[in-house]
Amino acid sequence: MRNTLHSATVATTLILISLQAASAQAPAQFECAKEQDPFFSYCEDVNGFLSDAAANKNAAGKIDRANPQVRRHFRAFWKVYSDPTRFTALLASNIAFKNALSSVVSSLPSSPSDSAVSRAAISGVNQNRLDKQSGAGSNASGTTSLVEKAGTAAILDFALESGTLTRTVNGNTATLSGNADGLWRTLTGRQALCFDCKDSKALGSRILRDINLSAAFLIDQQSSSAATTAGPANSSTPPSVTSVVLPTQTGKLAGFTARYQLWNPYDPHSAAFLSTWQETVKAADDEIDKASKELHGTVVQLVNENRLDQDDQFQRVLQSYSDTIFDDADAGDLDKLRRDLVAMYQTTIDTWTRDDPEFNAKVATVNLSLAKYKDLWQRLLEKAQGKPLLTLEYSFNRPPSQPETHDVRFVFGYTPRGAVGLLSVNAALSFYGGAIPAGAKYGRLHDGQVSAEYDRPITLKNNPNQATFSLAAYWQYQPDPSVLNITAGNLAPGTNIDLPQNAQVLLGTAGSLWVTQAKFTINGKSGIKIPFAVKWANKTDLLSGNKLGAQVGISYDFSSLSSLFGGSSGQ
């Protein structure tokens, strides 16, 4: 027994000594997830350098500086533009600000469209995505969308739409929508052109990436409030006029929507996924070729026209940083190494900016091409990954003169095998918000909806995806007629009735509301879309009788300006 215990003790001691030895030999490394840009973007390269350095020491115990293995990772951060797009993406928001300032300060160029900055500002990523919701939902007073899509712009999308689909009140709606992660990164000045934005400091980035937000505003609705008068201003005004209704603002929040996309879990390293990825990339070969040529051209111009190589002073500084960083690694001083790398990064930017007056414009041009290239990569990644399993949507609606509603919607997108296009299916329940008045002749449930739309891209010669043709059908069932809030404003002229605050009437009919729509969308350059649509409905929410109508809109995807903001591609 004693021998057994002794053997176990010796074995444990040996294991502990071995572990301590292994631990002592492990090279010091940065915890990259805790770092911030710009160092964060180079951190994995620095760790690779530290590993190679630890494994290649000379007889004196110092790093073998002539060892090719040691030099390979060192070159990835010694010249901080070793990956030029990483370098330009890091500068995106800063350059955007400087360019914007420069444009304001200087007089307008004689031909704005010819300047690189202007090109970057007014050109955009032509995102002809079928699965992107730009405008308001089907129950808005101004909308072109009978069926909602799961995706939105990577950063921000603005849409103006006119014409109603299910509502009786025709209106004009302005909708702002965007991806929560893209908006967060843009607003906080984080790098968003990165292909794998894995910085843990971006608050809940993984969750935000799958959340899309939008707000719709009725731009032709006036808000008003009652005000007590100070008495008649002239003799012709009766003294009984003691209060008036004042317009307080034009434009009114019509609704707010939040969507969350649920994806099929997938392993990007699995053989099955990689096989699908390779097939997807192969099928998009021409598209990749075109986009890579454009990006390559802008990078070649940036790199080849830099004058850093002819700047002797900069070359001496760069050489001294090389020696310093090796010294830092030899001393195991990671804090100093970080400081020296960041200083070298800043010195490179300052020198390049001083030596090349076109530096900012060239960076903006590279970033614009990079945004397009990343958008293509993102689309192919999502194609290989498969469409979202399901999208859950919550929306809060404030229709004119009607009670507020809370809608819960399921959005499903499906690309039929062997077919070109996208089938979108929605199922939704709408509930009245707030307290249901005592004695109300209607329940909490407003309606249930099911709708479907098929979008088919139309390809014209030498210009793919110039337009989209869509056919949609919508069915809504209401257990009760619609509710209309009664105020002094919607009483017939001359009516003199004192109304309680919550006066309501039932209008229209319970039962089924059918709408069909045919839509043609022009996908213009620079992220602009112009939808035209006609619809037929068997009734509207408040009135009986068939209704034929038209809708028109325009939307702009501000993701095309991601090079200026530093934006990411999104859903």
């Binding site: 994995e44 060892n67 797009t85 990006l295 990078v299 070649v300």
Partner: protein, 108 residues
């Protein structure tokens, strides 16, 4: 065939006129475009989109490579393919996703 590059310094060096073959080692990264001093050498990219060759001019040769990025972060090594089954490292990136790489080769 011996390697053309000397990769022991901060920047690779070689004899002018030497032909260099670069190979991209990254599981799902493919090489789409390549240029040397503004001369597009993408026609010299092989069918697997993993290597490219070019001749070196006297002086500084600015090499720019454009990749189609992988679906997930991976290490990316650019090595010289010395032709006899051996390679030597030129530039290595840690685990991440890259669309571009550039480095200079000094030829004399």
């Amino acid at each position: 065939m011996a390697c053309a590059l000397d990769v022991t310094g901060n920047e690779p060096t070689a004899k002018k006129g030497a032909t260099v073959t670069l190979k991209v080692i990254g599981a799902n990264t493919t090489l789409r475009q390549a240029s040397v001093n503004q001369t597009n050498v993408s026609a010299n990219i092989d069918a697997t989109r993993k290597s490219v060759f070019f001749d070196l001019a006297d002086g500084r040769n600015k090499v720019v490579l454009t990749f189609f990025p992988p679906p997930a972060p991976e290490t990316l090594d650019i090595v010289e393919d010395c032709g006899d089954g051996t390679t030597q490292p030129v530039l290595s990136f840690g685990i991440s996703i890259h669309a571009e790489a550039t480095f200079d080769i000094i030829a004399s």
